[in-house]
């Protein structure tokens, strides 16, 4: 197999198509929701809605990922908290603070930024991979997850896992020639870009709807969200 050709395809036309589908798809999902109709909330507020929103974002981003026991239910099922949290942390660090990825952003949006040294990013990538494995096993054994997981949930795990693992292998030149691993990584990333608007991985966009509504509704009642 000519991996150079495959790599050129995966980094070139296939990437363009995947990015097109990603942009169109995400905006499709966004518009479909936003234009569905927002009834006015006529209930008089007791506390501040905006205050509630600010509090819930601060709590969700700054406190809970690092002090999960603040949420009392942490004791019940620490696996989802720890593994889910570490996975997202690793993901963000690799995608935004990894040098190789920062250069991708730079080529797409025109500017770059400070990045972390490879061994540190590498460590987080490994942690994220292990966390994904833990989440996978959890989804197999947890009774609630068994009930609510369909083919889409398994595909989500797979389609996110492959780019992470191939990226890790690529960085370490593990087992196979570099251009082969790079090709696998790019193909997997392209598939991921196409899959995101078709699946629940788009939750990173809808997160902001749910979190804001949550903060507002709790703030309205004067309760800490």
């Amino acid at each position: 197999m000519n991996w150079d050709n495959i790599l050129e395809f995966a980094r070139g036309p296939f990437f363009q198509v995947a990015l097109f589908i990603f942009i169109a798809g995400m905006l499709f999902r966004f518009t479909r929701i936003v234009l569905l109709g927002w009834g006015k909330d006529r209930v008089k507020s007791k506390g501040s809605k905006i205050g509630g929103v600010a509090k819930t974002y601060a709590k969700a981003i700054l406190i809970l990922p690092f002090l999960p026991w603040v949420k009392n239910t942490f004791n019940r099922n620490p696996i989802i908290y720890i593994a889910g949290g570490l996975f997202h942390l690793g993901l963000f660090i690799v995608i935004f603070l990894g040098t190789a990825h920062m250069l991708v952003w730079k080529s797409l949006i025109g500017f770059g930024w400070f990045t972390l040294p490879l061994p540190i990013v590498d460590w987080f990538a490994a942690v994220a991979i292990v966390a994904m494995l833990a989440l996978f096993i959890n989804r197999l054994v947890n009774p609630v997850l068994k009930l609510i997981s369909g083919p889409a949930e398994w595909l989500n795990l797979l389609i996110v896992f492959v780019p992470m693992v191939t990226g890790y292998m690529m960085t370490h030149h593990l087992l196979q020639p570099y251009e082969m691993l790079f090709s696998w990584h790019m193909l997997a990333v392209d598939v991921l870009l196409i899959w995101i608007p078709l699946s629940r991985i788009s939750h990173f966009m809808f997160y902001f709807f749910a979190r804001t509504i949550h903060g507002a509704q709790f703030g309205k009642r004067g309760v800490t969200p």
Partner: protein, 367 residues
């Protein structure tokens, strides 16, 4: 060689260097190594090479140049060991070389024809420069004949074909977008014979001479990879052998040319180095007799021994970045498609909602 004052010792030394350059291994004789009796004779490639060079007749070489800059020939003149002079005077007979030969015009062409007839099936054809296929190959003509024709004719009687430089191997610079001449590498045109690719811009001279020598000594081509490149020189990437690799690992990068990081010799990945995907011997054999190579001198690797390196996403763009940046127009079009489709569906959904019995939904989720 004796006439030129080369001693036997110097000659053997040179053979030793060639053996090293070709990557041949020495197997010591039984007494010293403890190897079994069957291998009693041992294999000392140095003597093999020396013997071959002493006894075999000089190999005729026809060197064709097409859409080229003669850079690979230039580089060859700086070959350290063997030097081009040694090569030409002792081991090969150059029957035709546009840039180097003294003859010109119809005489030169006639000499080439004669050599091809006289040494049919024995000569080595070396090609430099890409072959255009556009307008029936007439973007490049020599003596009124297209490069395409000349190549096919020369290849027919060649014992071995070597493409030196990226242009002859993969199309090189003439093949860069939009490839107006429909430039091709030799092996895209000659498909019935094995073609050795020695890519690079230029090719490392020792790679070309080493491959020639392999043919001279053993009468066959060296082991090749999937792009027909000799594994001796092209089995590892620049990244694998790069002297700045520890800085890559430690995340110490030069951010711009001649900044503090650059002056400290940090990794050039952020400046667009294509080292990780470039297979060549620059980082080990280096250039100008082991003097230096681009990264060592502070310039990121261009990936010049890889196919389509000119269109590989920009010399100074990080290698991880996509090959093409989507234009604002494309991105805008994608966004528009998404918004319009989403709005359409939303309207249809709202109509569906309105078909319920109630007038205004209470939408408990507002609370």
């Amino acid at each position: 060689m004796q006439k030129q004052g080369v001693t036997r010792r110097q000659f053997m030394q040179m053979c030793g260097v060639m053996v090293g350059a070709m990557g041949l291994r020495v197997q010591p004789p039984v007494r010293e190594s403890g190897l079994p009796v069957q291998m009693a004779r041992g294999f000392n490639p140095i003597t093999t090479v020396a013997h071959a060079l002493q006894t075999k007749p000089r190999v005729p070489v026809i060197w064709l140049e097409f859409q080229d800059c003669a850079g690979c020939s230039e580089a060859l003149t700086r070959s350290h060991n063997p030097s081009l002079v040694d090569l030409v005077l002792q081991y090969i007979t150059v029957e035709y070389h546009e840039t180097l030969m003294a003859a010109a015009g119809l005489q030169a062409e006639q000499n080439k024809e004669d050599a091809m007839k006289k040494y049919a099936g024995q000569y080595v054809l070396v090609v430099e420069g890409s072959v255009p296929a556009g307008i029936d190959g007439n973007y490049c003509t020599i003596g009124g004949r297209s490069a395409l024709d000349l190549l096919k004719e020369a290849a027919a009687g060649a014992a071995a074909i070597i493409s030196t430089g990226n242009c002859a191997a993969f199309g090189g610079i003439p093949k860069a977008k939009p490839n107006p001449t429909d430039a091709k590498g030799v092996w895209e045109i000659i498909t019935d014979k094995p073609v050795v690719n020695i890519p690079g811009c230029p090719a490392i001279p020792e790679a070309t001479t080493g491959t020639l020598f392999n043919f001279i000594v053993f009468g066959k081509l060296p082991e090749l990879d999937y792009l027909n490149r000799p594994k001796t020189y092209y089995a590892q990437t620049i990244h694998d052998r790069c002297l700045r690799r520890p800085f890559y690992e430690a995340g110490k990068f030069a951010e711009s040319f001649d900044d503090e990081g650059a002056r400290k010799g940090y990794c050039l990945y952020k400046l667009g180095c294509k080292g990780p995907t470039t297979y060549n011997a620059c980082a080990s054999i280096k250039w100008s007799g082991g003097l230096s190579f681009p990264i060592q001198s502070g310039h990121p690797c261009l990936g010049c021994s890889e196919p389509n390196f000119w269109d590989g996403g920009g010399f100074y763009q990080g290698q991880s970045a996509p090959l093409d940046r989507p234009t604002i127009v494309t991105a805008g079009a994608a966004a528009a498609v998404g918004v319009v489709a989403g709005a359409g569906i939303a309207m249809a959904n709202r109509a569906q909602k309105g078909r319920g019995d109630k007038t205004e939904p209470s939408e408990g989720a507002k609370s």
